[in-house]
């Protein structure tokens, strides 16, 4: 129960952060990616602000033997740079550049009720299902 409350609260903070920062707006994200145009560095400030919190926080958190409400930390252990990582990230970047939407802002922007956001999320989930099906 407590775990669910933490998820809900963290999700809400995350969604609020994405909205306040303007990252829910694909036009603003494209403004960052368009380095040859009228460049808008805001996305870099958002990532920097998040890292400012997460880098020291994880350092402290991983000194604990376990999370507060679970038995262990679920952290990826893989170290190799493989073709899946590189190819998948490259494809993701193309989709991100075409639309200005990535998964967090897309899910959050559903709150706008705009039809294209729903179309994007439906296609994104179809893409995820396709990966699950062939892998």
């Amino acid at each position: 129960m407590l775990r669910m409350l933490v998820s809900l609260f963290s999700g809400a903070l995350f969604g609020l952060g994405l909205t306040i920062s303007g990252m829910v707006n694909p036009q603003k994200v494209i403004g960052f990616l368009d380095v040859a145009g009228n460049w808008d560095p805001t996305l870099a400030v958002v990532m920097g602000g998040a890292l400012l919190v997460v880098i020291p926080a994880l350092r402290l958190i991983f000194k604990r033997s376990r999370p507060v409400l679970e038995d262990e930390f679920e952290v990826p252990t893989k170290k190799e740079l493989d073709a899946e990582l590189l190819g998948g990230s490259a494809l993701f970047g193309v989709g991100w550049g075409l639309s200005g939407l990535c998964p967090g802002p897309a899910m959050t922007a559903l709150a706008s009720g705009l039809a294209p956001v729903f179309a994007f999320v439906a296609a994104m989930i179809a893409g995820m299902a396709l990966y699950k099906w062939i892998s």
């Binding site: 995350f14 609020l16 602000g49 262990e72």
Partner: protein, 139 residues
């Protein structure tokens, strides 16, 4: 650079960071949205529960913003429907194949100084910048 909004960007970034830290401290989970949404396709209730709740939280955060400011969500999409659908497919397939997106790799992974996440972030930033350059300045 008249579109640059560093103050709201910094406040939003700090909130996103705080949310990511809380998920790890209490639940031992990375706040990576592609992983969270992708795992909703699982059948096991124990895997789906907290992730579905997190997504509900994302929407509540957005609604809290619109309630507090009295305005609409600042979302504007200027891309045609076919492009949106192709982009969505690429983002969904690519993030699962590449094990993460802007949140899981770009924030939590980079913050752990994970080599995989740092490389993934550089790769998707690069292909996104190239894509925008081609669609906005070449085509």
């Amino acid at each position: 650079m008249e579109n640059f909004t560093p103050v709201s960007g910094l406040i939003g970034g700090l909130l996103i960071g705080l949310a990511s830290a809380l998920m790890m401290l209490f639940n031992g989970q990375i706040a990576g949205i592609s992983g969270i949404v992708g795992s909703l396709l699982a059948r096991k209730a124990s895997e789906v529960g907290w992730r579905a709740v997190f997504v509900v939280g994302l929407l509540l955060g957005a609604f809290a913003y619109t309630l507090a400011t009295g305005g609409a969500m600042p979302v504007s999409i200027q891309v045609s429907l076919p492009v949106i659908v192709v982009a969505g497919l690429l983002v969904g397939f690519g993030t699962r194949l590449g094990s993460g997106c802007t949140s899981g790799h770009g924030i939590s992974g980079v913050a752990r100084f994970s080599r995989r996440s740092i490389v993934a972030t550089l790769v998707f930033m690069a292909t996104a910048i190239i894509t925008v350059f081609v669609t906005h300045h070449v085509l």
